[in-house]
């Protein structure tokens, strides 16, 4: 998601990496690039100024001069500063001491409050809690209905009252939610401009009435320089406790994440990553920083892979690879596992830029459809064919193509790929046991199976 910025910063650091030691001039050049990249990523220009100067301060001078690899040192500093800017640790949702936890959603029009309110409720339901939604947006036509429909779709209850004003609705909603034994109440307020004093005082009074445990600002990840103004005003008017960043599944560089965090001092708690109700994830500042810097979200990926891939199966696979018994059957197993890890785009996005998968590969060949096709082709083979693909003559290939709804060319392509993989494994074996494990690890990074 931040790939453009990541590429830019990496470009800068590549130049730094080549040098033995860094002069002040080198650092300046790098900082100029970083400044430009951050501005183009929509980080607010004041935030950029502060950031660049604090990095420069740390980079020029002893730390760099005494370091053996100055380039790495700078990356480390930038990474640390970036992580610090976004708030060091992942921040969970507050819980009320007694009674239901109350969460209030606020934000500009169109930032995604209503959708996010329901996504949050769905997230809490998955954690075994019992959320209640309150529809306090009586201004936008259809907003109440939208919340009702979405709440119903996840099986959560929703309080609405088209006759009352927002303050009454919230008061009444809180009461009813408590009576019905709900442990989290989410208030969806109307979108408003931060300069609209009347509307801002409305959320102020709602806040003093229900005294929410969380006031979450919903921010569109595509927001530009103005993100700081809006966030600062909301914070001033109601006092925020956290931020949810939405629409992060687009190709925006999302500099708003850095800006908003900086001006409000509030942690980003969740990110919205798609139109589906489940598409809400916790925000991890450290991982996001690595991602911005082009190191990829390796942590996330490893975690995801570990959760999905059966450890025993992985061991067996390794053994087979060593004995060169890697068959099409195994190939298919891996495809299935790979797919169960989520969308391929998700996984590829988590891999480091440059270091892991070449850019070209990211763009071509590995789309979800082709994985499905591979699976279909192998499934159309007999057991014997899967274990011994050399028996696949043209008539067999035609039959497989027909059976899998593909063409003979597709079948041939797959067999070629498989052959190449086998060859690669042979080479790995030839390079000896010691070298192999290292390469295996590298391979694992490259293809998470």
């Amino acid at each position: 998601m931040f790939s453009n910025l990541a590429e830019k910063l990496q470009d800068t650091f590549r130049r730094l990496k080549g040098k033995g030691k860094l002069s002040e001039k080198d650092v300046d050049a790098a900082m100029r690039e970083i400044r430009l990249a951050l501005l183009e990523a929509d980080v607010n220009f004041k935030v950029v100024k502060d950031f660049v100067s604090s990095v420069r301060e740390r980079a020029v001078g002893q730390e760099v001069m005494s370091s053996l690899t100055p380039g790495q040192q700078v990356i480390k500093i930038v990474n640390e500063e970036m992580t610090r800017l976004m708030g060091d640790k992942q921040s969970a949702l507050a819980k009320a001491g007694k009674g239901p936890t109350t969460v209030m959603m606020v934000g500009l029009q169109g930032s995604g409050k209503t959708t996010t309110a329901v996504k949050l409720a769905a997230h809490l339901r998955r954690e075994g809690r019992n959320p209640y939604l309150v529809a306090a947006d009586i201004y936008r036509p259809g907003a109440v209905k939208q919340l009702e429909v979405l709440s119903e779709s996840i099986g959560a209850k929703c309080y609405s009252n088209l006759e009352a004003d927002p303050l009454e609705i919230c008061r009444e909603g809180l009461k009813i939610a408590g009576q019905e034994g709900s442990d989290v109440v989410i208030f969806d307020t109307a979108g408003r401009l931060h300069i609209d004093e009347e509307m801002m005082s409305e959320i102020g009074s709602i806040k003093s009435e229900i005294k929410p445990d969380e006031v979450l600002l919903v921010v569109d990840a595509m927001t530009g320089q103005d993100a700081v103004n809006a966030a600062a005003s909301f914070n001033e008017a109601v006092g925020l406790s956290g931020v949810i960043l939405t629409k992060l599944d687009g190709d925006t560089r999302g500099g708003a994440a850095l800006s908003v965090r900086k001006v409000t001092g509030c942690p980003i708690k969740f990110v919205g990553v798609g139109e589906k109700i489940e598409a809400l994830e916790p925000f991890y500042p450290d991982r996001m920083a690595s991602r911005i810097l082009g190191m990829g979200d390796v942590l996330s990926l490893i975690e995801k892979a570990e959760a999905t891939i059966d450890q025993d199966k992985a061991k067996e696979m390794e053994k087979k690879l060593r004995q060169q018994q890697f068959t099409l059957e195994d190939f298919k197993d891996q495809m299935v596992q790979l797919r169960s890890m989520g969308s391929l785009d998700d996984i590829l996005n988590m891999l480091p830029e440059g270091g892991g998968i070449p850019k070209e590969l990211k763009q071509m060949s590995l789309n979800e459809d082709s994985l499905k096709r591979v699976e279909a082709i192998i499934s159309s083979m007999t057991k014997q064919e899967r274990y011994n693909p050399s028996i696949l003559n043209s008539s067999r290939r035609r039959r497989i193509a027909r059976g899998s709804g593909t063409t003979v060319q597709d079948v041939n392509r797959l067999l070629n790929q498989f052959n190449q993989m086998q060859k690669m494994f042979k080479q790995m074996n030839a390079s000896g046991k010691k070298g192999m494990t290292k390469k295996m690890k590298k391979m694992k990074k490259r293809f998470p199976f």
Partner: protein
């Protein structure tokens, strides 16, 4: 109330105190490096983007040199001209020259398509045109209900279908309905979609094709709705939407906040897509044809 005044009240209401600082930039003193630097900051903070800001400031430098200007006050007009030059409005395509005249609204989620569709319908309605709205957002929960309420406010008919059904089919029917009801203008709302979602963009292309097959030459205008608070990503949005279907113009929404929407300069400069309308409030009449001069002044906060 003109756009520029709405801006000014907006800015005056904001506590950021921009007005004071920027009034100062162009008011007095000689043109020096500080002036250019501060100007670049103003432009960047208005989402014009670094490259374009640098380009604008460089061009201003040249012009200042050419015309041997020294005072900041005089440079103000030069810069306004530069921006207006980029943002020239083209022909205001507000008069429907076909019947039915079809306008399709597209954009990312939350940019303000549904509201803009209603406002646009109101605009044509006030000009005594026979208008129908098409509730093409069949995906988002209650989007149809939202437009239904708006249609009532605008006093126009709404063509709708069940939530979750195929939008292209709805548009096909809507075109037939428009002809049989002898309607002048058809305004189509569509579901919000991120431009990076291939399938959703293909769907939009299909809607465009279906309308064209039913009524050759339609849609006569495809307008991309862009939220003024959007940053540099808006260029990517415009580029992708324009690749899926020909985008004729922009509607810049939410200009009543403190965001200045400078990103449309990049879009106009890079892709040649002009701004047609600006949205400046939540009421149905809060949509106005784009005026480059007002925009330039508001952008520079003067």
């Amino acid at each position: 109330m003109g756009l520029i005044n709405q801006f000014k009240t907006g800015l005056a209401r904001s506590k950021s105190g921009f007005m004071g600082r920027l009034g100062g930039l162009f008011s007095a003193g000689e043109i020096d490096d500080d002036f250019y630097e501060e100007l670049e900051e103003i432009l960047v903070s208005g989402d014009v983007g670094v490259q374009t800001s640098i380009k604008l400031v460089d061009r201003l430098r040249e012009k200042v040199k050419e015309s041997r200007i020294r005072e900041r006050e005089e440079a103000k007009n030069l810069l306004l001209e530069l921006i207006i030059e980029i943002m020239q409005p083209g022909e205001p395509a507000t008069e429907p020259d076909q019947k039915p005249y079809v306008i399709l609204l597209v954009g990312v989620n939350g940019s303000g398509k549904t509201t803009s569709a209603a406002k646009l319908a109101g605009l044509y309605r006030r000009d005594n045109h026979q208008v129908i709205l098409v509730a093409g957002d069949t995906f988002r929960a209650a989007a149809i209900e939202q437009l239904e309420i708006w249609a009532e406010r605008a006093g126009v008919d709404l063509i709708k279908t069940q939530a979750g059904s195929d939008s292209s089919a709805l548009f096909f029917d809507a075109m037939n309905a428009a002809r049989s009801r002898d309607v002048d203008v058809v305004i189509g709302d569509t579901a919000g979609r991120l431009h990076s979602r291939y399938n959703l963009m293909e769907e939009l292309n299909k809607i465009h094709r279906v309308i064209g097959r039913n009524t050759p030459g339609a849609p006569h205008q495809v307008l991309l709705v862009v939220d003024a608070t959007t940053g540099q990503n808006a260029v990517a949005q415009a580029r992708s939407f324009n690749q899926s279907l020909p985008v004729d113009g922009l509607i810049l929404t939410k200009l009543d906040g403190t965001a200045r929407g400078g990103i449309v300069i990049n879009i106009q400069d890079e892709l040649g897509i002009p701004v047609r309308y600006v949205g400046t409030g939540e009421k149905i009449e809060d949509l106005a044809p784009f005026n480059p001069k007002d925009f330039a002044r508001a952008l520079l906060e003067i």
